[in-house]
Every structure is written in C-alpha cells, then in structure tokens.
Amino acid sequence: MGGQILMKRNATTFLKNEYEELVNKNLDWKLRILESGSTPHSVVDGKKVIMFCSNNYLNLSNHPKLIQSAVDAAKKYGAGSGSVRAIAGTMKLHMDVEKKLAKFKRTEAALIYQTGFAANAGLIPQLVGKGDIIISDELNHGSIIDGVRLTKADRAVYKHRNVSELEKVLNEADKKYRRILIITDGVFSMDGDIAPMGKIVKLANEYGAMTYVDDAHGEGVIGPEGRGIGAHFGIEGKIDVEMGTFSKAYGVVGGLIAGSQDLINFAYNKSRTWLLSGSHPPAVAGAQLAAIDVLETEPQHVKNLWENTKYFKKELKSMGFDTGESETPITPVIVGESNKAKELSNRLFEEGVFALPIVFPMVAKDKARIRTMMNAGLTKEDLNYTLEKFEKLGKNLEII
C-alpha cells in the first residue's frame, strides 16, 4: 500500500499556461503552411498566392542546377554527414564550398556554419569578453543581440546608421577597453537600408576596432554579382568578419563567415555552435556549391531582381505610397497605424498576394507597414497584378 506522494510542484503546467498566455495576447505564431515549393507562385494554406515574403530573392531554391547538385551529392555521399565537423563530419564537399565561397567573396578564407544564427551565437562571444566592448547599431537583428548577450563584454548602442554617434562611442571606448568590436546588420531587414560600411571600416581602422557585419539580406543581392556588402562598397577583405547566410538569396540553408585565414582558424576552433552541432548533409553542401556557381556564371538572376525592384518601387511611389528609405529589394509600404497594415495584408492575401505586415514595436507606432521582398522569378505580369491590388486596396483604405 503506497502512501500518497505529496507533489512538490507541477513540473510542466507552465508549458500550457505560457502558451495560452501568448494565444490570449495574440502573440503566438500562427504558422502558414506552404503546400508547394517556395516559388514566386506558391500555395499557402491552400490558396495560390504571389510570394512577397520569402527571402528566396534570386529564386535559386528552385534552380535546376541546385536541385541536381543536391541530388547528385546525396546519391554519392548519402543523406547525412555522420558527425560534427570537428570529429568525422568534414567532407571534402564542405571544404570545396568554403574554398569556392572565399574566392567568390574575394577573401582569404571562409567558413560554413550550420545556420546564420549559429554563426552569430557561436562566434561573437569568442571575439570579445570581459574588459571589451561591443558597439552595435540600435536596429541590429535579434540573432546578433543574442550573440552579444552571451558575452561578458560591455555593450553600447549607437543611433541607426549614425557614424558620428559611432565615433563618439569609439572615442569614449578607446580609453577604457581592451578590444572593441563594431557590429552592424549589412542590409536592415525592416527598412531595407544599408549600413554605411565604408565609413564604419575607416573609423574602425582609426581606432583599432574590429568590424563585424551580418549581411544576411545583402549576400547574393548587393554588390557586383551579388557578392555582398564588401563588394558593394569596394572593400572586399577589409571587413574583419563578413557574416552571411545560404538560406536567403543563395536559396539553400547555412551560415557563413568570410575573412582572413586567421579569423577562420580562430572561429572553427572556438565557436561552440560549430563544434557541437552536426555538419550539413551532403545534399545541402552540394546545393551550396551550385548556388555559388550559378551566381558566378548566370548574372541574369541578380539583374532581374534589381530590375523588378526598381520597377516595383517606382510604380508604388508614383501611386503615392511611402516606401521609406529602402535601397534594396526589401520595400516597405508604409501605411501608418498597425491595424491598417494588418487589414491591408489580409486583403492582399484574399486577392492572392502574400506580404506580411510589420507593426509596432518592430517599427514606430505610426510607421506600420507591409514589407515586400522582391523575387527575381516574378514576371512583369505578376508585378502589375500586385501593383493593381496595392492601388485598389490603398485607395479603399485611404492610404493613398
């Protein structure tokens, strides 16, 4: 006869409670299900839509060469890699990608991480520690912020893209700290504007500070051949850490860093995320290899992306929409109050255009917007159809 065991606490009720709290506040993620590939015309929750919120800028995820290369690699080397990179999971294929990438980025060396987040969360805490300072743009992306949180370094933020404020912080930090690390997004994902990397690198050199750019939305998009932010400013190899991702314009998945051989040697020996997660399956590496190849040999994708972007921006502006300060294929359509942005997004979806609203507190209260992400695979007809819907709904909702 067992006596009743007095429960000290309920170990797991918080799971349900906290989830329900999110649901009540309408803060839970309602996942949209893609029933097709991520293509310019996708099927989302059973509805055919024109895709304006994927990061698949160049439509490479559907490129025959990438698919073929993934299939070939899987057939030849199997479905998985068997280990972490450091022990027995480094295949020649991984090394080939890194070599090709470094050549493409015009840097001494490059390293592939499992994801972009793994790159930031693994490398940033190794670059600085106690007695050091990280200086960060106030609008930096979340994965940078998490990487920064894992360090014992002090942190200072400067106003978005404001180089003179950055200099003030550098001047102050110069006296007090051992190492100084400046971190910024390359292309900012909410507004589509670009960090003034040329000026930042120049300042960093004056003060002996390291530079680290998260170019997730710039890789494959800006600079000649889509070679990223270093190429965009003509400072290839001069940014200490050029970090990016294979999951956006490259059309695959995976994080990357490009820089000096010293950086790469340091990074793979010290990044815990890199050391402790399994390496990419051969199919992923195969597709990455093909993605770089396509960028090098088929300039039409980047060209199409920019032509589409320019046309779309121009037309939106001529209709009277405020498209902010964007310099990239991320075009915000600023509509004002949050509810209006949500309403516009819902109605666009009904009309077959999938573009997400971005509302406070991600952006200022009166700057709620629809964020559109251009795709090189969209045709003029697609764009005209979308523009027509924007114009019609914009008038209905008294935005224009």
Binding site: G142, D154, R155, A156, V157, E165, P361, M362
Partner: protein
C-alpha cells in the same frame, strides 16, 4: 472595463507667464493687474477635442470632475456626457485647496488616472494628496513644467490618454519638481524635487524572437541598472559613490540594500552608507577624506535634467572636484527616449561649457549596456 478618469483644471495656471511672474502661487492679483489672461481652459479644450476627434468615441471613459471652470465646463464643451461632478469649489476664484479637495474625492471614487491641466504647482498640489497611489498625466498649461508627469504638448496628452486606455503604456516614475516661487521672487533660483509620483510611460521593448517583442516593466529595467551599479562598486573598491536623487537611483540603492534618501544625496563607501541626505558642505567634507569619487545621476523630470533641477546640493565646485569623467548617468530607456537631450544647468558658465564641449554623455540603460545621448547646456 471602462476606465475612470479624474479630471481637474487649474483655471489660473499659466497666468503669470506672459507678465513675467514665473507662476501664480500667491500673486494672482498682481498677475491680473498686469494683464494676465486665463490659458488653461483653452489648453484643456485643445487636448480633449483632439482626444475625441482623433482617438476616441465619447463613451470610452467615465469622467469624475469638479464644477465649473475646474473641469465640468471643458468636458461639457467638447460634448462628453459620462460626467460625475464630485467637487464644487466654494468661491469662483479657485486655489490650491480646491485642487487638493478634488483629488481627495478622486481617491474616494477610485479613479484609474488623474488627468490635469496646469503647471508644476498644480502637479505638486495633486501629488501632495495622491502621492504615488494614482498615476498622473499633465496637460501642460503652466509657466513652469519641469515635472515628469507632463506630456510635451496638448496634442501629446491626447495621444497618451488614448494609448493609456488601450493598455499600450505602463506606469513609471515621474518626478514632481517645482521652483520655490517665494525664494525665486527674492532672486534665488531653487528648483526642488518634491517627490516621485506615478506617471504613464512608454514601456521598454526587448526583442525576444525574430519579430516578437516583449514589453519590459520599468522595475525590470531598473533591476538591470542596479546589477550594473553593483558591478561598478565591486570593481572600484577604492571609490566613494555618491547616489543622486530621484526614483531610479533610489530603486538601485534599495536593491543593493543601502538606505537611501529619495530626494537627497547619499554617500556609499565599501558597500556601506557613510553619509545621508547630504548638503553641499557635508559632501565637500567627505571629498576631503575620499580622493576618488564617482557620482551616480539620473535624468530628473520631463526635460532630462541631470544637474540643476532638484539637486542643487551638487554645486559647480563639487562637480569640478569630482570630475566629469566620474559621473555615471543611469536611465531607463523610456526616460531618455522621451527627451532628445540630457540637460545640464549648473549655474556656472565655465562648468556648463565643459559639459557642452563633451557634447554627449554615455548613459547606462541596462546591465553593461549604454548609449550616447547629447547634452544641452543652454538655450532651453
């Protein structure tokens, strides 16, 4: 649930301004003789009209107010109907006593927020009755509006009221500051910190997911600031730390188990309080015994003053002795986001100039987290 607003207008607020009296405390007759005209009614009407037109339907709120020019007239003029008159002033010409009596009624009625129209003096009268029990929002209409309960304009008041009703704002500290008018008219400049009221403030948001932000309460941010100061004290064991006045610094000191004076300056060495509520003379005496000193300051009031409002004990002589580089400024992010500058008015031109030359200060806004904020020393 429909929110209950206590609404009070100080009909004579702001009348001293145009005639150069820096307030109407006890000198109303003189102000009227000099040609002063009432301005608070118009300011209150502007704010209410904008609130109704831009943000609200008329039945959103339940209003408790005072008869006549102290609130009733204004609410009725803009067409509000859910009004309950809870207090009637005895005479036509109202005084501070009427404001205070109205507030006592607001407490009885358990209002959620007191919305008032007036200046620093009115804020002080309200604070004397409600303390930090009910949040206060001020429509600026006085001559002096240094207190943290004021929004920056009538239009901003309307917007804040709207955001408050929709639970987009949180409750935070708001300093009650007022110039001692009697001393001022004798030629003495003495702006005092009278207490820390509750105001409504923009919450701080932290990114917790790719596109998910969570609002963080003022207290959570202040706990981070306390952690930061704790590290500073542990890192600099040979320093005397002077804790400035105000709610943020008081919170930090209490978190560190230090007895602190909310409205005064305290000294801490080796994690122990070595001086409480110090005046200039006593601080100078301490500085003779402790050669290394750090001074912790936080912006006070609506305009971001770190020196010259509410802490006149920190004289120019003292500040020079401590050294600008030994000043640690701490602030919740909301407080510095509501003012574009930190302001310094030490009363010593040379010292003000030293601050002006610095051009900016690094302000601690979280644990080991700081940002650049510009300093302004004149033309405000």
């Amino acid at each position: 649930m429909i929110k209950k607003i206590g609404f009070v207008v100080n009909p004579i607020a702001g009348m001293g301004g145009k005639v150069g009296l820096k307030g109407t405390d006890n000198v109303l007759d003189k102000a009227i003789k000099l040609g002063a005209e009432p301005i608070s009614e118009k300011k209150a009407l502007d704010a209410l009209k904008e609130f109704i037109l831009r943000f609200s339907s008329k039945n959103d709120l339940y209003w408790f107010t005072c008869a006549g020019a102290m609130g009733e007239d204004e609410l009725k003029k803009v067409g509000l109907t859910k009004i309950d008159i809870v207090y009637s002033p005895a005479k036509k010409r109202t005084t501070a006593v009427d404001t205070k009596n109205a507030c006592k009624k607001f407490i009885e009625k358990k209002v959620d927020l007191i919305l008032f129209c007036g200046g620093d003096g009115t804020a002080r009268d309200i604070f004397e009755v409600v303390s930090n029990k009910i949040p206060i929002l001020g429509i600026p209409a006085g001559v002096k509006m240094h207190s943290g309960v004021f929004s920056i304009s009538t239009s901003a008041s309307a917007k804040m009221l709207h955001e408050y009703i929709n639970n987009n704002l949180t409750i935070g500290d708001a300093e009650i500051i007022d110039l001692d008018e009697k001393l001022y008219r004798k030629g003495k400049w003495d702006i005092r910190l009278f207490g820390i009221a509750k105001g409504i403030v923009e919450p701080t948001y932290v990114q917790v997911g790719k596109s998910i932000f969570e609002s963080v309460s003022d207290d959570e941010v202040k706990e981070e600031l306390a952690e930061h100061i704790k590290d500073e004290i542990e890192k600099n064991t040979d320093y005397l730390f002077l804790f400035g006045s105000g709610g943020t610094i008081d919170f930090i000191a209490k978190k560190l188990n230090l007895k602190n004076t909310l409205l005064g300056i305290d000294a801490v060495y080796d994690k122990k309080v070595v001086g409480s509520d110090l005046n200039e003379k006593k601080i100078l005496e301490l500085l003779n015994n402790y050669s290394k000193v750090k001074l912790i300051l936080s912006p006070i009031g609506a305009q971001g003053f770190i020196l010259g409002r509410g802490n006149l004990q920190l004289s120019p002589k003292l500040i020079k002795k401590i050294g600008l580089d030994n000043i640690i400024v701490v602030s919740t992010p909301t407080k510095i986001s509501s003012t574009p500058f930190l302001r310094v008015d030490t009363g010593d031109k040379k010292l003000d100039h030293l601050f002006a030359e610095k051009d900016f200060l690094m302000v601690v806004i979280g644990y080991r987290l700081s940002r650049v904020v510009k300093i302004q020393t004149n033309n405000f």
